[in-house]
């Protein structure tokens, strides 16, 4: 079974992001970049499927400018077999990425596509679902456990108030939730080997997709600073404030 995993280059989760002075975007100058944590979980799951003998090949794909090849290399160091880079510049919205991924799906015909449920920069939570619609494939989003059984894929999803189990027919799409697995660290030998693995580069034209934007970003501003709290004198004052100022009790 061929597994396609999408990985996105995002600001490292340890970095405290700042808005640019002119409010047009987040300041990415000299900021450490990394593979999106949910995508890393997707890579780990694919590699585990390969180690279990379920997957035969794991392909890591990323859409973006040239530097996102670093994140493909990370996926290769974690155990993916080869990489595909769809080179596209600028701000890419989920629909465009989903269309480009659809192009890769058509080329590679994977049985399973695993994506992060969302990326920690845009927090859109759309790409996997859109790809499902475009590729006409069933989807199991927010997966906390997956299991391949014959030509079916059982997905346990984290939904409000509990867990839901779905059975999907393959080929299918899965988006990962935080608890699906705990990704490994890439070892030094595997980092060195990753340099030699195959990495193909496609342009959007190669995939027959035109990159057009439907959404424009108007403004980026930091959240309002939290004001200091106060100490209440007694319970009566607390109740009064909850009732009349915060209006959370009546």
């Amino acid at each position: 079974m061929k597994v396609l995993v999408a990985v996105k280059r995002v600001v490292d989760y340890n970095v405290k992001v700042r808005a640019k002075g002119d409010g047009t975007d987040v300041d990415l100058n000299n900021v450490k970049m990394a593979i999106n944590p949910f995508c890393e979980i997707a890579v780990e799951e694919a590699v585990r499927l390969k180690e279990a003998g379920v997957a035969t090949e794991v392909i890591a794909v990323s859409v973006g400018a040239k530097p996102c090849q670093e994140q493909i290399r990370t996926a290769l160091a974690l155990g993916a077999d080869r990489g595909i880079h769809v080179e596209a510049e600028g701000r890419l919205e989920p629909l465009v990425i989903a269309k480009l991924l659809k192009g890769v799906v058509d080329k590679e015909e994977p049985q399973l596509v695993i994506l992060g449920k969302q990326s920690i920069d845009g927090d859109n939570n759309q790409t996997g679902q859109m790809l499902g619609a475009l590729a006409n494939m069933p989807q199991g989003t927010f997966a906390s456990e997956i299991k391949v059984e014959g030509d079916k894929l059982n997905v346990i999803r984290e939904v409000d108030g509990g867990l839901q189990t779905l059975s999907l027919s393959l080929p299918a799409i899965v988006t990962t939730d935080l608890r699906l697995n705990e990704p490994r660290y890439a070892s030094l030998p595997n980092i060195m080997k990753a340099k030699k693995k195959q990495l193909d580069v496609y342009t959007p034209e190669d995939l027959g997709v035109s990159v057009t934007s439907h959404v424009s970003q108007l403004k980026v501003e930091p959240p309002a600073e939290r004001k200091a709290g106060i100490k209440v004198e007694d319970v009566a004052q607390l109740v009064d404030k909850l009732k009349n100022e915060a209006k959370v009790i009546s």
Partner: protein, 390 residues
């Protein structure tokens, strides 16, 4: 701009995306497997034996060693070593890298000078983290004066009979083998040989030196050899050529220590700056007092100089023309920088820095082991002066 561990590192054009990938993965390993327990291990006086196989699996133990022994050498250069030493120092518990990476001084004599059979018997097991090797040079009667060591190995048929003792041996309690400097010939440097001694040999015994100023997590030992019979094929290199074996070991040990010390100085800077921005005195932040600002700037100034010097020495190693005198003085530069940063960070932190559990408190206690171990500042200056033909 912040002055944390990463942003206080000067740019280095030799660092590639692959180097950064190693830093990222190694830091994840360290932050997951080591940092949460580091303080407890230090207080307990040892690190768990399970850590070695884990460090082997991530590629830490095998870095720079040949693939045939289970290491990773292809594509590895000095910049990987620098990153590794920096990241291990960043834990701020010096006994952990000292103990975990002690094969870095014990194994190279075997790899560089040992017989094929010896390499095969020792290197794969050590690099897999299953067995342990230490380096035995210093004796109760003398340390840096290697040429006058007095542990003897007397030839008796196809064995040497070893008598004497070694002390301040890092990893000595856990070691399965000790690469040991012994006297096989006459007086002076030309009578010294290196012998690989298994610690299960009859007549070998050891005691722990567990009350130290710092490096608590590191096991340190005194070793005793009482008529220990060692087969002659355990000779590392040729007889009476031990001095050369020992000397070729020193450059990489000193580079590793220098890189670690600079990084420890940077940890002190990071902690001091964070505190100076938080703490308020006389109506303003510590960081707004000129006396504190100058301390911070001076720490950064010395760290900058040391980083540039480290880079120059690693570059000379990469180019195949390292200067042992420059490397000896780099070790002094690094220990003086670490000492300065530990002192100034402690002054900025004040009372909180004096309490156990702060990285600065521990680093302050571990300045001396760095300034003395691996060649004291005095010996380093003397060696450099001789190298420069003064």
């Amino acid at each position: 701009m912040a002055l944390d561990f990463d942003s206080a590192r000067l740019p280095n054009p030799f660092i590639t995306a692959e180097h950064e990938a190693w830093r990222t993965q190694l830091r994840r390993f360290i932050d997951t497997e080591i940092v949460p327990s580091a303080e407890d291990w230090d207080e307990a006086g040892h690190i768990p034996i399970e850590l070695w196989p884990k460090a082997a699996a991530v590629g830490l133990l095998g870095l720079g060693y040949a693939e045939e022994f289970g290491g990773t050498r292809e594509g590895i250069d000095s910049w990987h070593s620098w990153i590794t030493n920096e990241e291990l120092a960043r834990i701020g518990v010096g006994g952990i890298p000292a103990s975990l990476m002690v094969h870095g001084i014990g194994l190279p004599p075997v790899i560089n000078w040992g017989s094929e059979a010896m390499k095969q018997a020792v290197a794969p097991a050590v690099l897999a983290g299953e067995k342990h090797i230490a380096l035995g040079i210093t004796e109760p009667g003398g340390g840096s004066d290697v040429a006058s060591l007095s542990t003897t190995a007397v030839r008796d048929g196809d064995h040497y009979i070893v008598n004497g003792s070694k002390t301040y041996i890092t990893g000595g309690m856990r070691a399965n083998w000790v690469s040991t400097a012994v006297r096989t010939g006459g007086e002076g440097a030309r009578g010294v040989s290196m012998l690989l001694i298994p610690t299960d040999a009859e007549g070998f015994s050891r005691t722990a030196l567990d009350r130290k100023q710092g490096w608590w997590a590191s096991d340190t030992a005194t070793l005793y050899f009482d008529n220990v019979r060692v087969p002659v094929d355990q000779l590392i290199g040729t007889e009476n050529q031990g001095f050369l074996v020992i000397m070729t070991n020193f450059n990489s040990e000193r580079m590793a220590m220098a890189a670690g010390m600079e990084a420890l100085g940077r940890v002190c800077l990071e902690e001091a700056v964070a505190w100076a921005r938080e703490r308020k005195t006389f109506g303003k932040r510590l960081a707004d007092h000129q006396v504190i600002r100058h301390k911070i700037a001076q720490m950064k100034q010395k760290l900058n100089a040391t980083q540039a010097y480290i880079r120059l020495c690693y570059e000379s190693i990469e180019n195949g023309n390292p200067n042992p005198g420059d490397i000896a003085l780099l070790k002094v530069q690094a220990s003086e920088t670490m000492e300065f940063c530990a002192r100034e960070a402690m002054q900025i932190l004040g009372g909180i820095g004096y309490m156990r559990g702060s990285r600065v408190e521990r680093i302050y206690r571990e300045v001396r082991v760095n300034a003395i171990g691996g060649g004291s500042e005095e010996i380093m200056r003397d060696l450099a002066a001789r190298q420069y033909g003064v």
